[in-house]
């Protein structure tokens, strides 16, 4: 039997209007759905399934209307679909924290199944944090590959082509299980046949209840700024000297600190220490 794959399709607000005065969010229900990257992920999964005799399960977290995206997946050839029944409110808190909650909902819905691959789009259209795959990987104890533009099999293993900065590419051999975030690059979802569209409309889609979204506070709207420090007035005799003193031009500067290469955890400690020393964060470092 070929790989067991799960494709996570979002039910996002694709266009959100922000009221510049009140900060309130508005979107049309009609404008909800997946995005090109997720549909590309689905297409990759279907191709692998065709080639390796695998199975594709399409999953979404959303209200009944979200069945539409699952029916699209079924019509295109997904073998199964599951909806996790939860309707997130359109408010900054849920958009910002959606990744963790969505991943939790999907992971618990997969309970008992051990997918070889979980495919996601690289980011949803609304929250756009791109964090769902990372949280999913953590919950499933899976490896994670980001920025993937192509998935293929070389007979023994699955290969993920990653896009790196500066036009470079990297090819990863994926361990199983793995969570892969795909970009909408060069692949479009196949056009479903008419009989398949009609059959998908009639398919029963199981719904699994999900915990409601946990309400979490959001960050304040204004960026965090350290308090201004009081400085003595420049003492130079001429305006030119005072400007030089104020701007610090022609003076020796603190050279940039080059740390490392360090392990990630130590690098983070160093960075946090720096921000702390310079007053960007206060109190206990987390």
């Amino acid at each position: 039997m070929g790989p067991q794959m799960v494709v996570a399709l979002s039910w996002s607000w694709r266009r959100v209007r922000v009221d510049p005065l009140t900060g309130s969010l508005h979107a049309e229900d009609r404008d909800r759905g997946g995005n090109a990257a997720e549909l590309a992920a689905l297409e990759h999964a279907l191709r692998l399934a065709d080639e390796l005799d695998g199975r594709v399960l399409a999953v979404t977290v959303g209200p009944v209307a979200a069945e539409e995206i699952l029916r699209t997946a079924l019509a295109a050839g997904a073998h199964e679909a599951v909806r996790i029944d939860r309707d997130d409110q359109l408010e900054p808190g849920s958009l910002a924290h959606n990744g963790a909650d969505t991943a939790k909902a999907i992971a618990s819905a997969l309970h008992g199944r051990a997918p070889d691959l979980v495919l996601c789009g690289d980011r949803s259209a609304d929250g756009g944090t791109g964090t769902t795959p990372a949280f999913l990987a953590a919950r499933l104890g899976a490896a994670q590959a980001l920025g993937v533009v192509k998935l293929e099999s070389n007979g023994q293993s699955l290969l993920a082509h990653r896009r790196l900065d500066g036009g470079s590419r990297e090819v990863l051999r994926l361990p199983r299980p793995a969570v892969v975030s795909l970009e909408a690059a060069g692949v479009r979802l196949r056009r479903a046949s008419l009989p398949a569209v009609l059959a998908a409309q009639k398919a029963t889609i199981p719904a699994i209840p999900a915990e409601p979204h946990r309400h979490r506070p959001t960050l304040p709207a204004r960026p965090l700024r350290p308090r201004p420090r009081e400085l003595p007035a420049p003492a130079g005799a001429t305006a030119h000297d005072r400007v030089l003193e104020l701007t610090g031009a022609l003076q020796d500067r603190t050279p940039p600190t080059v740390l490392g290469p360090l392990p990630a955890a130590e690098a983070v400690d160093e960075l946090l220490g720096y921000l702390h020393r310079h007053g960007y964060i206060s109190g206990e470092t987390p």
Binding site: R30, A192, S193, L194, P195, L198
Partner: protein, 434 residues
Amino acid sequence: MPEKSSVDAVVVGAGPAGASAALELARAGRSVILLERGPFPGAKNVYGGVVYGRVLDEVLPGWWEDAPVQRWVTRRSTMMMTPTQALTIDFRTEDWGNAPYNGMTTYRADFDAWLAGKAVDAGAQLVTSTVATELLRDAAGRVVGVRTDRPDGDIRAELVIACDGVNSFLAKQAGLLPQTDAEQHTLGVKETLALPRKTIEERFGLSGDDGADFEILGCTGDISGGGFLYTNRDTVSVGVVLSLTGLAKSGRRPEEVLADLKAHPAIAPYLRGAELKEYSAHLIPEGGYRSMPPLTTDGLLVAGDAAAMCLAAGIWLEGVNFAIGSGLAAGRTAAEAIATGETSRLTGYRKRLEDNFVLTDHKNLQGAAHLVLSERVQQQYPRLLCDFAQEVFTVRNPEPKPGLGKLFRRTAARHGVRLRQLAADAWAGFRIFG
């Protein structure tokens, strides 16, 4: 194993005509596929903004409870314009703001999706993002279904109802409509402009869910046509309707004509500070009764704009209610024909339309488009009436007030309007509208 695509009827186009036809068929217990090329019904549709819903009373009693209404039209103004003047007949009534209501402004994306939803609730299968590309025929030439642009996309059906709108590709393929007929079409261009709800209410003198509907004559320069301005909750839609041949001859761009209307001193104050949300353009079949194609052929019925059933008669620009009326009639006829197996004889369709407002109104008003689009009604009369109003209301003391009759004759003479011609047009108008 996916099912074979074979149904009792296939309806092409999920506009108001198609949704209504599918609703009737589904309610009659027929299997029906409603095909729509857009990603959802109404995604691609353009109109001015007012729907008259009376036609729905019978099929969706109390439709106003859940229809996606923007505003109920309680103010209807007919405006005659010259580049610097405007004479308006302004009518308002509280009655239209109460159930069962007269007209509503609504967005087509909402309205069409809502109406198609009713068909789906009744059992129709809506298939979106799918284009009907061809009629399927049997050896005898009878229409037996449609081909779509999807793989394995043929749908075989007892009957096909073409509701694919103006320029109907299916009616043309069936040989019912000519391939081109610019004379019978106008181009509608429209902008949707955002304004705060409160501003709209202040400027148009509205409150609550009340709405205004302005129909405008004499606003399209030397191109025959007309204009409109409608209020939604927090947008207004403003547009012009232009004769295709006149537009081509003028060498002007349609958006220029619309820009002129927006800048007119009688319109600009309503729109000040508005933000452009959307620009759209669409053809309108304005030929009316005289340009209607045969409405059926063996295995096919045509409804709505596809059968030129949009009523464009100067003070009326109504297409949605006619599309719904004809769609319902087509659906009923099709359901009966399928039940009796008489799918070749579809004469009941025309009879139904003649018995209700669709063909009765079109027949009665058949000369209207010709009259309304005539040079006199388009150019001379608005100028004459605006100048006459100006003369009447200009106070010239110490000169004594002139008699109105004399004033009118003098103004008419100045505009080269012969009173006999005016009387003849008034009589023609009376015969058409009277």
